[in-house]
């Protein structure tokens, strides 16, 4: 470092000066991002390595790699019933995602392509859902679900998820539809196809990329949802992964390494989906510019 600095001051060549400065900033930026990457990744690495140890080893040397991997922790975590939670999450997430995106696409089509009185009003009506904190609806929703007789059923999660997912997805799909040329749809209408056929055979195929992005984002939201699942479900059999992991944790509180194995199992599905569908994630969230 010091030699570099003296050199650059004795040789005032401008390009050389700039290059040294650039080299130093390059180095600093690499160091900064390496540190951040370690901070982002190490907790996950730590959980994985320690999930393969005994509790005693965990307390003795939290840094060390497991002496020999103890797969038994995974067996025990699995036996606790994680499969059940995963299955519930898959069911609730897939039904929620399909229904939300289907209804949102329909609504977006109506709002983007029909000129009818009240169009702006209904758009704002739907979008207004984005402004509402779900907590505000929590207590009345609880009563409504009890009254409808669906408290503590899968529907107690699915219906609120759909209702709270529609505003964002409609917004996303409507913007996308507004950006598409209308000519093909108009040609379809002139050829005598009704709006339903135009929707099914033209609008949906044209919107496929945005529908895919909306589905990925909606699935991520539903998969991770916590508050409604905590409040509207009573029986362990129906719990989704985020809540199941909580009860798993409180049952096995003292067996840290088994809990860690459970966390790894629980995290895997989402990480795999993310690595496969990265582009859809990014496209969807940038189109909407929203976060959970």
């Amino acid at each position: 470092m010091d030699t570099l600095r003296t050199q650059s001051s004795t040789t005032p060549s401008r390009t050389f000066h700039v290059n040294v400065g650039r080299l130093v900033s390059k180095l600093l930026v690499y160091v900064l991002f390496l540190v951040l990457a370690v901070i982002a990744l190490y907790p996950m690495v730590w959980i994985i390595t320690n999930s393969l140890k005994t509790d005693i080893d965990l307390f003795e040397s939290t840094w060390a790699l497991p002496k020999e991997p103890l797969w038994d922790n995974y067996q025990r975590a699995w036996d606790y019933g994680i499969a059940r939670y995963i299955l519930n999450s898959v069911l609730v997430t897939s039904v929620t995602t399909v229904v939300t995106v289907a209804l949102s696409t329909m609504a977006a089509y109506a709002l983007a392509r029909f000129d009818f009185p009240g169009r702006t009003f209904w758009f704002l009506f739907i979008l207004g859902g984005l402004m509402l904190a779900p907590q505000v609806a929590l207590i009345p929703l609880f009563r409504t679900l009890v009254k409808l007789g669906i408290y503590n059923t899968y529907l107690a999660m699915i219906l609120p998820y759909v209702a709270f997912g529609i505003p964002f997805n409609t917004f996303l799909l409507r913007s996308y539809l507004l950006g598409l040329p209308r000519e093909i749809e108009e040609a379809g209408l002139i050829d005598g196809a009704g709006p339903v056929r135009v929707f099914w055979h033209i609008v949906i195929p044209l919107s496929r990329p945005m529908i895919a992005s909306a589905m990925v984002l909606q699935a991520m939201t539903a998969w991770n949802e916590f508050m409604f699942a905590l409040t509207f479900i009573e029986s362990d059999d129906l719990r989704t992964l985020p809540i199941g992991i909580m009860s798993f944790m409180s049952t096995l509180r003292s067996e840290f390494t088994v809990v860690m194995a459970g966390l790894v199992i629980a995290a895997l599905p989402m990480i795999l989906v993310f690595l496969v569908a990265q582009r859809q994630f990014i496209r969807g969230l940038t189109a909407g510019g929203l976060k959970g």
């Binding site: 991002f33 779900p134 409504t144 966390l263």
Partner: protein
């Protein structure tokens, strides 16, 4: 226009057929609950009392909110949450995004760091919360051990168990989870800035910092405003990470509004009072959302 092949009747009725399921679901599960919440905040009731046993108390529940010290603790924590999140998730991540999009990093390392920093935001809050509980725990804890190793033993704490550190530990974990997410949004915004602007600035001899202030910052202005308001609104809605990591403890020190109303309603079974807390929360988040719309004008432009 789509009206081309359609009769008058079909032109007006068809859109409603497409909208109908959405409108029904939103009325039942979004709008009806808001109205219902305001009604139920005027009564004292619990889960076991039938409708006929609701006791009308007028605005008493709201008066109680403003006399409740835990309410003020919650609001204070929500504000901390907002301030720190704006500083880290919005301002700091904008800096990170600008560095990743600069020529200082190779293309490969730039996309590698991008993916790695984004990764925490796809994990469920429970998984993240429990992972960090284990890391902040003094006996299993990684965090205190790291502090030991790097010579900062003096700042060791029982992070989640002390009144002074609990909420800040939770807020810190939130930053860990979301900074990479906001960073990606900024990266996309930066990529939309015309490249020629940077080239012209370079020719004029502007250094990296000058380019950042005079081209990048104005170029992402809109994204910046939207992210700031969304982050602030999010800070007043936060529930799950706090519930998982501290449940508001110790001794209510890390309570936030969303968390407190859940406890009052579903643990203490004082539904009327919880509804009043929800009512206050509605007013706060509504005012913030409204300010966002006025401020950014995004929605009005959308509807024109």
């Amino acid at each position: 226009m789509a009206s081309l092949g359609l009769s008058r009747w079909r032109k007006y009725v068809t859109p409603y057929l497409f909208l109908l399921p959405t409108l029904i679901i939103m009325i039942v599960f979004v709008y009806h609950p808001i109205v219902e919440n305001f009604r139920s905040s005027l009564y004292n009731w619990n889960t076991f009392s039938g409708q006929e046993n609701w006791r009308y108390v007028g605005l008493d529940n709201y008066r109680r909110v403003f006399d409740d010290p835990i309410f003020y603790t919650s609001i204070k924590n929500n504000i901390w949450y907002a301030v720190i999140s704006v500083a880290v998730q919005v301002c700091f991540s904008l800096g990170l995004a600008a560095l990743l999009e600069s020529t200082l990093l190779s293309r490969f390392s730039s996309s590698f760091f991008r993916t790695v920093l984004f990764l925490p935001s796809v994990l469920a809050v429970t998984i993240i919360g429990i992972t960090w509980m284990l890391m902040l725990n003094p006996s299993t804890g990684l965090v205190n051990q790291v502090l030991d190793e790097i010579g900062l033993a003096a700042v060791k704490h029982t992070w989640l168990g002390e009144e002074g550190t609990a909420i800040f530990s939770v807020i810190g974990v939130s930053q860990w989870q979301w900074t990479g997410y906001v960073m990606i949004l900024f990266i996309v915004a930066i990529q939309a800035i015309p490249h020629e602007l940077y080239e012209a600035a370079r020719i004029d001899g502007a250094n990296g910092l000058q380019q950042f202030w005079h081209i990048t910052v104005p170029g992402v202005r809109e994204t910046f405003l939207v992210m700031t308001t969304i982050t602030v609104i999010g800070a007043f809605k936060v529930f799950d990470i706090v519930w998982v990591m501290t449940a508001g403890g110790p001794n209510h020190a890390s309570e936030v509004l969303g968390n407190y109303l859940y406890r009052v309603g579903f643990r203490n079974d004082e539904m009327g009072y919880a509804s009043a807390l929800a009512g206050v929360m509605f007013l706060i988040t509504f005012a913030l959302s409204f300010a966002q719309i006025r401020f950014n004008g995004t929605m009005s432009r959308e509807t024109e």
